[in-house]
Symmetry: C2
Subunit: 686 residues, 2 copies
């Protein structure tokens, strides 16, 4: 009996998910755990409707359909780039906000793509068959080709409206084909003032209590008309109550919970610090640039916001990984899995060496990390011009090849998004691009050293500032017709071009591709192949009662509306409108906009504004709908608390909280502050 | 026999110093190790003369007397603040360099103090007797009082010319009284162009091969005349040869080699990253500020240089601490010492708990670290105005007390330096102070959080920028007569002052002092007391064949002129003038100044320029003389290689190298490029 209890305890211990933990795929919801933890679990129709009502912004956010006429709810910070791009010197929608009183006033975003998931198919067998017994370059090429073939067949001739991606789940434990409806005509309907969307600014980011109207409404169009999108989440007008079981259906971007200890230590000791230092210094440059005010302030606003956000995320992650206790738990889990593998002779033969193989690949990665980051990943060439030049140069070479032989980012299923970004009419500010280029080149020299052959090849005898000046002076890529001509002209046009950024992208392309090839061969393929083996072993140990690491695909998190307690301090789950007025100082970032100040008397100040909940989310979940058991929107996820930043590596049920805008709060503001009569009616289904 | 060998091996293992390792006090040179490692060791007269010929710049550098008329050799970067302060909009000596053709042309540095060590006395007994059986606040106060009493007696009535400090060696294992001759009238004789002093700029900093004329000549005066200083190091005109045994007599600032593993982990996981991130972001702000060119470039130059230097040092230190192997060795050493202690019942009774007590103090430190750093250490108030205001406010309160009861930085022996800094005529640029203040306040809010009562007390409803603007607009501390009046007026003048920075310093003084008191009581005193116990245990284990951690006091390092080899790449120990011309691109930071370009034909291009050697040095050693067995200057230490940055925690004989300017190279440049005829004659003893 004692023995049995010990065994049972052990099974419980090795269950990877804590209560309320997990970002679950919709084809494998944790029904039993949900019943156990919140006393309710969805059936197939609920899941189906949720899948078709949720949405993804291809650039990196979540969203949801909130009317049958293609109205989409997401965060302000998810559309802020569009808002900035629609702005001009005379008309700053970031500052002033934007409201289309009628559908015909809605403004098209220069480059935004919305995806709605329609179908998930298991393609594990096909992908694994293609790579069986292969290693290194052959493994990578075969896998790319297999995926290209599968997605091509899935898209067929409907590339403009259908998007198909093969998704690696469980780090290669499973491959699934995700088929999406693709919307590329997206228009802005409502955005509040930035001061209200991110009230409290960087100081309050990832904090709670919070008072942010971080919402926006956009609409998808087809054939020039609002798309008739069918399924959607209706708005709940009162919002959730404390402890209510609710759900988040969003697209978490990336977690690292399946990494081996060797990988986590590499992140902790090297890559995260390297990125963080870069972010910190860049933030300083941007802050000072922006302090000049006026146009500089407007131009750099979004870049600074994103940089500050990254800084806080990376800092939180580093603090999490520096927590010896959590890493020790990871180490114990890994040790237990290795022992499990060792105890099964068949499994041991294939898999026992997997951890050491990954550790060796990590060493290679460490050795080549800086060159890879600077030259192939392009950190050295931080500027929109270079990004476009790289796309044009590589696009010309890759599109000349058969789909299955291309770099995956130029597969047919990716081209509509690539082209939308490349031909976007978003304004480009040469002075700002010079600043970014100078920064990137300076840091490249610092990280690789002045004597690096790659640095000498890029800089020659020029200083970073001189090179940046001459690059920007020597480019015509600001003009999108020039970009279009180069794209359409292919390799011949590239060869003839004397554009300075095109020539730079050409000049370092061989080196960059060689770095990438080595990385794919000696790092990525090794890690991928051995992670698959570890994932299989984990399946053998626990079954798929585990959830896969986040992959920017649709996931369901379940939990409750709940605050938390730390060091004796209790944080309540709701804030209200009154709190926003109390927190306001009149000075940035605690200045309420005029619209709020003048509406105060009309508001029900007790309306819930923001709320905290136990959902397991991460970056990419921004804009996720929070829904109740009836499938109604009760909130809009826009952030996590500071403790949620450890969520990249593990879920901490005690402290990790998601932060969302309350549905009643959104309606109150839309109605009484912004007077968005027709949008309110549409949200209320009137 | 086997047993005896094992014992001997063990003794060798626990010898803390590697061959050529160590920063040795001049009263305890490692005679045997020197004989063993370099086949020569100094006698008492050599050591005595070296002590009296070496010098310290109180602000944080090393130097040496190089003529009987008070001429002092140090690095350009050690006097660059003076050079900047002597510059003005029309006359930029940092850029153009400075040469006094005659003694009467020498220019007084606004605030520089030179110290020459005259005597070392052991005061361990007195200090320990004063603190016996005390803990916490009582321990700190008693120790401060004992030190104040000892230094007062040492200085007597000669405060203007004598400086006495009680130095904690071996982290409290020994206390020694260092008596210095103090020189406060210091004048600039020669400084090359900054472009030549730090040729290669930040990219080449801490790298080798190197081509920097990082030298300057200053002179100490007494009664308005060049001081007759007696002992000095004559210049060797040919420089050292490869492998020659040579010596560095300098003032290493601070090492952390005696820290416990708990302390090192705290540095690795928290404090170093925190400082580094602050340095990185500040660097970004300064870089962008400076990029405006003109006056901004000149004003921010030194601050940016120092910030970039700190960045590289801190990054190197963090990489060193992230090296699991080295930390493992530390852990093993600590374990061995703990076992040694456990094996001696008497020692165990007093000392076995010391490591855990320190670990607990580290936890308290972690908890209060940010508030301490921001408010008491003043990182939140990054500006010269606040530094002066804090000195005035605390100085008024402290000087009213008996010497033994004061905060140590206001003891009588410190006041001459405090006053020299406070009344310095160095220019202050309000716009630049606003920038720094804004930065400091912004980061204070970020690190402590917008809801911290301390942050609310400082900022009120203002934004950091607003507060900085109003502080700088509301201060008259730019005027040194105002500072003098406040200093002389004491507490009454402070109470009456409506100066904005004075009021800020007053407003947070109680909080700041409370933080300091808690830190001293719960962190510093605990660590000090238990480090003493550990130091005693180490003495019992190894005797004082170990050297103490660096304390910015005179130390001797011995070693050889030597390059190194890494990953199959051999680095030779010398560079020459030809190499500088080869490395030059004409663009900053690789632009040779006009003086060099026009002198090229006159130069012996084979003259050795910079050199690498095995000496164990660290920050503070900048400006140290490198001397040969005859006591002649053969080099001027100005840097270490990149591997030397791990020297904060351990010495790596294989890779750690000091970098110095060759004596023949200095003479060649002074003579043929700068035409410094009379200085060359003085250095040659003609």
């Amino acid at each position: 009996m004692k023995c049995l209890i010990a065994l049972l305890l052990c099974v419980v211990c090795s269950l990877p998910a804590w209560s309320e933990e997990g970002m679950w795929t919709l084809d494998n919801p944790p029904i039993k755990a949900m019943q156990r933890d919140i006393g309710w679990a969805p059936g197939a129709p609920w899941l189906e409707k949720t899948m078709r009502s949720a949405a993804r912004i291809a650039g990196g956010c979540s969203a949801s359909f909130v009317s049958k006429n293609g109205l989409v709810l997401t965060n302000h910070h998810c559309v802020a780039t569009c808002v900035e791009q629609l702005s001009s010197k005379g008309q700053d929608f970031l500052k002033a906000g934007f409201l289309a009183q009628q559908v015909s006033d809605e403004k098209q975003c220069p480059a935004m793509e919305i995806n709605r998931l329609e179908k998930i198919t298991d393609v594990t067998k096909e992908v694994k068959a293609a790579t069986a017994k292969l290693t290194g370059t052959a493994f990578t090429l075969a896998q790319n080709a297999a995926k290209a073939k599968i997605t091509s067949a899935c898209v067929g001739n409907e590339g403009a409206k259908v998007r198909c991606d093969v998704v690696d789940l469980y780090r290669g434990g499973q491959y699934k084909l995700y088929r999406y409806h693709r919307f590329q005509d997206v228009r802005l309907a409502f955005a509040p003032e930035n001061a209200m969307a991110s009230f409290g600014g960087d100081p309050d980011n990832f904090n709670f209590p919070r008072f942010d109207l971080d919402m926006a409404l956009i609409r998808v169009y087809e054939d020039g008309k609002p798309a008739q999108t069918g399924d959607f989440f209706p708005f709940n007008t009162t919002g959730p109550v404390a402890d209510e079981p609710v759900f988040v259906a969003g697209h978490p971007g990336r977690t690292e919970r399946e990494l081996t200890v060797a990988q986590l230590e590499f992140v902790r000791d090297y890559t995260l610090i390297d990125r963080l230092l870069n972010t910190a210094e860049y933030r300083g440059v941007l802050t000072q640039y922006r302090s000049a005010g006026g146009e500089a302030e407007r131009i750099a606003a979004r870049t600074l916001f994103n940089t500050e956000n990254s800084y806080k995320v990376q800092r939180g992650q580093l603090l999490a990984l520096s927590d010896a206790g959590h890493l020790q738990r990871k180490r114990a889990e890994e040790e237990a899995l290795r022992k499990f593998v060792a105890s099964r002779p068949e499994l041991a033969k294939t898999t026992l060496g997997a951890w050491d193989a990954i550790a060796r690949a990590v060493k290679v990665h460490r050795e080549m990390y800086q060159e890879m980051v600077q030259i192939e990943n392009g950190r050295a060439f931080e500027s929109r011009y270079f990004t476009m030049a790289r796309t044009l140069v590589r696009g010309a070479a890759e599109r000349a090849k058969a789909n299955a032989d291309r770099l995956p980012e130029f597969n047919d299923n990716k081209l509509p998004e690539v082209e939308a970004r490349l031909f976007s009419g978003a304004p480009i500010y040469p002075e700002f691009e010079t600043l970014k280029t100078t920064y990137g080149l300076t840091k490249m020299r610092e990280r690789l050293g002045a004597d690096s052959p790659l640095v000498k090849k890029v800089l020659g005898e020029k200083s970073p500032q001189q090179l940046a000046d001459s690059l920007v002076a020597g480019t015509k890529l600001t003009d999108r017709e020039v970009r279009r001509a180069l794209w359409n002209g292919g390799a011949a046009a590239i060869a003839k071009s004397d554009d300075a950024f095109i020539r730079l992208a050409v000049a370092i392309d061989t080196d960059a591709r060689e770095l990438r090839a080595r990385y794919e061969r000696e790092v990525e393929a090794v890690i991928q192949k051995n992670s698959e083996l570890i994932a299989q072993a984990r399946f053998a140990q626990t079954g798929d009662s585990a959830y896969p690491d986040a992959t920017f695909t649709l996931r369901l998190s379940y939990g409750r509306i709940k605050g938390w307690e730390k060091s004796g301090k209790v944080v309540a789950p709701f804030t209200d409108f009154a709190g926003a007025f109390e927190r306001a100082t009149g000075n940035d970032p605690y200045a309420l906009p005029a619209s709020w100040l003048s509406s105060k008397d009309r508001l029900n100040l007790k309306t819930h504004f923001n709320q905290s909940s136990t959902h397991d989310i991460i970056g990419g979940n921004s804009g996720s709908p929070m829904i109740n058991r009836q499938g109604e929107v009760v909130g809009l996820v826009f952030d996590g608390n500071i403790h949620s930043l450890s969520g990249a590596y593990w879920y901490d049920k005690v402290l990790n909280r998601a932060v969302s805008v309350n549905s009643a709060g959104m309606l109150e503001a839309l109605d009484k502050i912004y007077g968005a009569k027709s949008l309110v009616a549409e949200l209320r289904g009137l």
